[in-house]
């Protein structure tokens, strides 16, 4: 049983700890998923994300683990966004992001897949930032959080271990796996290394 299916099982069994883990893991990610698609409207994002998570909870027993839990929730969120825009007469404002293209969506949903002959994409600085953040949200387990804590917030391995409730060795190991997963995801999405993506973002190339 995967960690996600185990999380779902525990939630269905009524374990409060599992609900907390679910909410803390997926709420901010789904919020970041919805926000740019709703033109940054905070109230609309709250409403859509709430409806998405309520719907996900209601259909939790139907989650089979065929897709990642986050991808499954994002599917629900897409439908909620369409419904919201329809109900609020904002059909014309529907925003389609770069990562909504079929090619990128498939790549984002399989960030662990090895890179084959992916074409090299060039994106603007803001798009690159958002795509990298989407990659962090799509990484399995809490790899995205771990990388952010370490490299953006500058936390020590000990602090990360403490945040996750694990020892220093386990945190170090998790960080190493997170780096590998992130590197591979960048290659899948951008067809290039972190250094190239950074240079691209800064306009060095």
């Amino acid at each position: 049983m995967t960690a996600e299916r185990e999380l779902v099982r525990a939630m269905l069994a009524g374990e409060e700890r599992a609900f907390n883990a679910f909410f803390e893991t997926y709420f901010p990610r789904v919020y970041r998923f919805a926000m740019p698609r709703l033109a940054g409207d905070v109230e609309a994002s709250r409403e859509v994300v709430q409806a998405t998570l309520v719907k996900a909870i209601r259909n939790l027993a139907g989650f089979r683990g065929d897709a990642a839990l986050f991808s499954w929730i994002c599917q629900i969120c897409r439908r909620q966004i369409v419904d919201y825009l329809r109900a609020s007469h904002r059909r014309s404002e529907r925003i389609v992001l770069m990562e909504d293209s079929e090619e990128l969506r498939a790549a984002l949903e399989s960030v662990e897949a090895p890179v084959e002959d992916q074409p090299m994409h060039r994106y603007g600085s803001a798009e690159t930032r958002r795509l990298v953040q989407s990659v962090l949200d799509r990484l399995p387990a809490r790899y995205g959080d771990v990388l952010e804590w370490k490299y953006v917030e500058g936390r020590s391995v000990e602090e990360i271990g403490s945040l996750l409730g694990v020892g220093q060795t386990a945190a170090q190991s998790l960080l190493a796996r997170a780096r590998v997963a992130f590197r591979e995801a960048l290659e899948t999405i951008f067809g290039s290394t972190a250094a190239d993506v950074l240079a691209d973002m800064r306009g060095d190339v």
Binding site: F23, Q50, A51, K55, R58, V152, R179, M201
Partner: protein
């Protein structure tokens, strides 16, 4: 710290990208409460079903076959018909299994568990759940038929009319309206529940309603309007049974089948739908109305139009104020 060039570039890239946005604590708390409430409801529903199965297993040998059949029905994932469309004004749509495959629904069609319904702007609909229970759907609403006795309102408003006389002697549970912010239970009543930007609004026209939330239970009486936010104080104001906010629900009321019914039953229906007090000028007038047996149909008319049309065929006339209907004999008769 790992110092390989590639790791350094990961560090530099992530620093360049910056920290991912986080929703505000207030937004997070609001969403958390709503989602947590839905989760608790789901868990309790599953536990109730488990208990039911356990009881079934413990039943006597003679009851085993029956219990298994019933418990299988309980667990069946197939849709169970629960209501029918009594009236539609505009375009009512159904998504039968959450597939996103919406299709229009017409009067007379069945509604089943698992169905999601939506009304566009300008669309109003009435569903008949049997046993005198009518659910009217306001424009711009989205709701799901979660089970035979639970409708979940995701967005918009629904008006519930559960006639206590029709429900008398009924053993099945009363219909519950669930929302992301709490569940609304009733016993023989008329009320309107709406989702708002930060909670729910509830107006009770008749009877008594109980709202169950994580933070506690609220009772609302006839004539009360409650604004129930996710966090903060519940506010109560008075609302008249003839308030303009009931009008859409009255207009979409399922037709009263007048054929072979006494005039008094029809007048009771009009009074209930319009929220007005019904009276007769004299006991003789009432006796006269009781003797009139109606024939025909007024199915395309809203209650007040139907009142005028039906009484025009009798020797009785109505005198209406904003809160009452008095029936008297036509002058000169």
């Amino acid at each position: 710290m790992n110092n390989s060039p590639d790791d350094q570039s990961i560090e530099q890239l992530l620093q360049g990208v910056g920290k991912r946005d986080l929703p505000s604590a207030a937004v997070a708390e609001q969403v958390r409460q709503a989602v947590h409430g839905e989760w608790r409801e789901l868990v309790e529903q599953r536990q109730r079903r488990s208990r039911f199965v356990a009881y079934a297993v413990a039943a006597s040998v003679a009851g085993v076959v029956l219990a298994v059949v019933v418990s299988l029905q309980f667990h069946s994932t197939s849709a169970v018909p629960v209501a029918s469309v009594a009236r539609v004004e505009g375009l009512l749509q159904v998504d039968p299994a959450g597939s996103g495959d919406w299709r229009p629904l017409a009067s007379g069609e069945q509604i089943a568990t698992g169905d999601t319904l939506r009304t566009e702007e300008g669309t109003y609909a009435a569903l008949d759940f049997g046993h005198g229970v009518s659910v009217r759907i306001d424009a711009g609403s989205l709701l799901e038929i979660a089970s035979t006795d639970r409708v979940v309102l995701d967005r918009g408003s629904v008006y519930v009319d559960a006639d206590p006389r029709a429900a008398a002697g009924r053993t099945t549970p009363a219909l519950v309206i669930g929302t992301p912010y709490g569940s609304v239970h009733h016993l023989g009543t008329q009320y309107l529940v709406s989702t708002t930007r930060n909670g729910i609004a509830l107006s009770v026209r008749e009877g008594r309603v109980e709202v169950t939330r994580e933070s506690g239970t609220q009772i609302a009486q006839a004539g009360e309007h409650l604004e129930i936010p996710v966090a903060g104080e519940v506010t109560r104001t008075a609302i008249s049974p003839q308030d303009a906010s009931w009008q859409w629900a009255t207009r979409i009321a399922p037709a009263f089948n007048i054929d072979r019914e006494p005039l008094t039953s029809f007048l009771d229906w009009v009074a209930r739908e319009t929220g007005k007090q019904l009276s007769y000028a004299t006991p003789d007038v009432r006796a006269q109305a009781q003797k009139v047996i109606l024939r025909g149909s007024a199915s395309d008319l809203a209650p007040e139009q139907a009142l005028a049309a039906v009484l025009a065929t009798t020797s009785l006339v109505p005198t209406q104020t904003s809160s009452a209907i008095e029936i008297r004999e036509q002058a000169g008769k």
